[in-house]
Amino acid sequence: MSKPPQFSAETDGPSIRLALAGSWTIDASSRLERTGVALVPAALAGQAAIFDLGGIERLDTAGAWLIDRSRRDLKAKGIDTQIERVRPEFTILLDEIGARDVEIPVLRKGSAIIDILADTGRAMVDFGRDMFAGVAFLGELVTAFGKLIRHPSRFRGTSLFFHIEAFGFRSVPIIALINFLVGGIVAQQGIYQLKRFGAVNYTVDLIGVLVLRELGVLLTSIMIAGRSGSAITAEIGSMKMREEIDALQVMGMRPTDVLIVPRLLALIVSLPLLTFIADLSGIFGGLIAGWLYAGISPSAFINLLREAIDFQELSVGLIKAPFMALIIGLIAAIEGLNVEGSAESLGRQVTASVVKSIFMVIVVDGLFAMFFVSIHY
């Protein structure tokens, strides 16, 4: 084990001789720092300081820096310094360190209020840009669809069916399960509330209308935004990262046609189908809960349901589904194309894609609710 850094000061005529010993290396940590900081006060009494480095066993940049800094500080106070008995292998290091100016660049710190205002402004500008980009992208998609209609032979059918399987078919179990559970939970809560008015049978109306109009399509859209929207962003984003998108473009293919149109169409086809499955399983969940908690037999439930709802209820949910699919697909594609070179950026865009599409799905659902009420549908 090497000796810790230390020094002794003795008066040598008008000057002070600082005899340094031990190993002046960074593994001594705070001990090195304390010893190094003590050098300057020890030499203040004299007119000159002599650094006797003969006793130093090991020296690294940290030690050399502390010695050099002390010399500079002493010089600034008008005390001459010189170095003696330095081993040749340390000379290079000391010279190198001595030749360097260390300045610590200061971080610009602004006022917190201005930063908040600037952030708010930036967020608004970004929101505006997002909107603009969304509309521009939608336009690009419409022209892509238009071209497809004129040249149907260029349509990428395989890709479409591949994505319908990925987004639609493979989502069936999770969508059915979630809606079954939520349908059951809502029915159970409804039963307990309506029991107080002796109107338990109205639970069937509650479940029928709520699931068909809102819950089915909303839960399905949110699940798909999380499951397929994120997948689209990640796929397109990683292709963007590895310059695959650029490669497609250079080979004369339009990324919108090749990558985005099939995915978007697949979502638009899948989401209404999934919504229908969601409606069925939500109602089935309600039926089971009604049977268990209120003793409404399945045949009675179905009879009540037939009175409570008609085709209109079902169509309200199904009409919304393709729009939700369009929103999810658009946001996912835009965010995917916004990915830059790094993996962090990919992660950021996937998160943004999911958050934005869930937000937009709920907002648009609210708009639809207002719209349907105002046309008495």
């Binding site: 290396t25 593994d27 502390l66 360097r100 260390v102 300045e103 610590i104 790094s342």
Partner: protein, 242 residues
Amino acid sequence: MDGLDLDVRKGEVLGFVGGSGVGKSVLTRTILGLVAKRAGRIEVFGSDLDSLTPSQFGTIQQRFGVMFQQGALLSGLTVKQNVQIPMREHLRLSPALADDLAMLKIGLVGLPADAANKMPSELSGGMIKRAALARALALDPELLFLDEPTSGLDPIGAADFDELIATLQKTLGLTVFMVTHDLDSLYAICDRVAALADKRVIAAGTIETMLASDHPWLRSYFHGQRGRRFLNAAGSAPLSPP
């Protein structure tokens, strides 16, 4: 790996070459303790890695500095914070001294002072390599591992980097273990070269030893299209003894 034997001597720059996929990185990662070895013996600073307790290995690890091929700078931290991570973790220094030392290291590797507060994503490839080297030097290691230090740099940047490694090696008295493909680096700064092929070190020694070897891989490496220009440029005098 089979019957592999390799020594790195104190104070030398060892270039470690070998074809792609022969296990250069696996060997390096094994020495660093990132991959468990199946058999054999690794000795670092005179102690057998198997006989060490985890805390003893930790102490040894502080005497390593490692520069990864892609830099491996932590992306959420600035360059200065990256350099300070090892110091914060293992040492107790005042923030002012830690700042001074970090800036010193950043200066030593030839980065401008204003690079200190930049995020790794704002740096060019060459600057990332330099910042990674500054972090590797943070604890003043005795043994420095460099994984392809010049890959991905343009020839001028690569030559500068070679020069930087040579200067730092002399100034700080480092022992350097350098995995590389770069013939320029081998000729410019390596004291010795070790070549890995056929699951073992087929040759270790100076460049002349390499050139004299008649192992087919070494012949194609040093006497191939790319290798030959060095032979021509250097003439026959210094490289091949009469």
